[in-house]
Amino acid sequence: MLGRNGSGKSTLARVIAGLQKPDSGRVRIAGVDVARDRRGALEAVGILFQNPDHQIIFPTVREELAFGLSQSGLTKPQVAQRVARTLAHFGKTDWADAAVHQLSQGQRQLVCLMAILAMQPEVIVLDEPFAGLDIPTAMHLTRVLDAAEAALVHITHDPRTVMGYDHALWIEAGAVVEQGAAPQVAQAYEAAMREVGARDDLADIAG
């Protein structure tokens, strides 16, 4: 999903994750009404936010990964097993007892991602997850995401990141402007954005 800051794409991300109720209509992901059936929603959708510091609640990696799992009703041995398996899958078993605040931004974002993948959702919503990450780190996380079994919904303002996706939507002022094959939509979006950028855009304060 492509769009400028303030276009409504983050709101859409939250609606898809079931964190915000739509004013009208229903949102079904993998058959689950995500706003109403929170239990089913947790198994169907995961969401990765932009800033890992606004997501990570626990001080160690192990506790952060275990959180969603223990909340979904697994027993303690089951949780421990899942955490260990997730860490091993990423080759980060030695991170288990690491303190989060000693990790870099990219490493923290990976912890957030692992915490979501441990819950094995069908769909993962990514709300501008690469903002502020350097190129190698963004590439690494992209590879991790590609390898994940879930369907990815990537919210971004950067057209370059949507190239590998099956379908793209261009959102503006809360409405879909165009949708279709990613390369075409990205091209149209970029052209329009450059045109806006050539004019004086910062003059108006929102609202």
């Binding site: 001080p59 303190a99 989060v100 605040h101």
Partner: protein
Amino acid sequence: MERNVAQIAVFTALIAALGLIPQLTLAFGVPITAQSLGVMLCGTVLGARRGAIAALLFVGLVAIGLPLLSGGRGGLGQFMVPTSGFLIGFPVAAFVTGLVMERLRGLPVGWAAGIAAGIGGIVVLYAFGISGLAIALDRPVTEAALLVTAFLPGDGIKAVLAGLVTAALYRARPLSVMSRP
């Protein structure tokens, strides 16, 4: 010096922010406002002197007309309502909390913080609050005390939480707990 002032200001903002966040269900499904937890944390984390200044700054800002009390309340009227004793008691509560915290440095952080929060955030704060109520409602102190008993369990939980939160902060960032240099 700048760090001191910035930390005090940020804790004042934290007290206000904790009043703005929609009620956290802190324990056993009991929804309680987290604002007085902020006052306790001023004492357990910043210590007596800085914690008291942060709480005093909070009271001062409410007085000059900022809607910092939970529910967006504020202004001079808050010093005339029957519960004004609690508001006026914030700085003293933070100070005593910090004082007890500093005295109990032999105990593990969580226990010290919990006890300090109980003495400062409940005993001292309620002393101010109940006195204020008694004066405003023109009733003897014992009757005023009866009125507030309903809030004791919630605040008791908050003192325990202050202990847990301070201990968690100490584990994550030992240097930031000022009351334990």
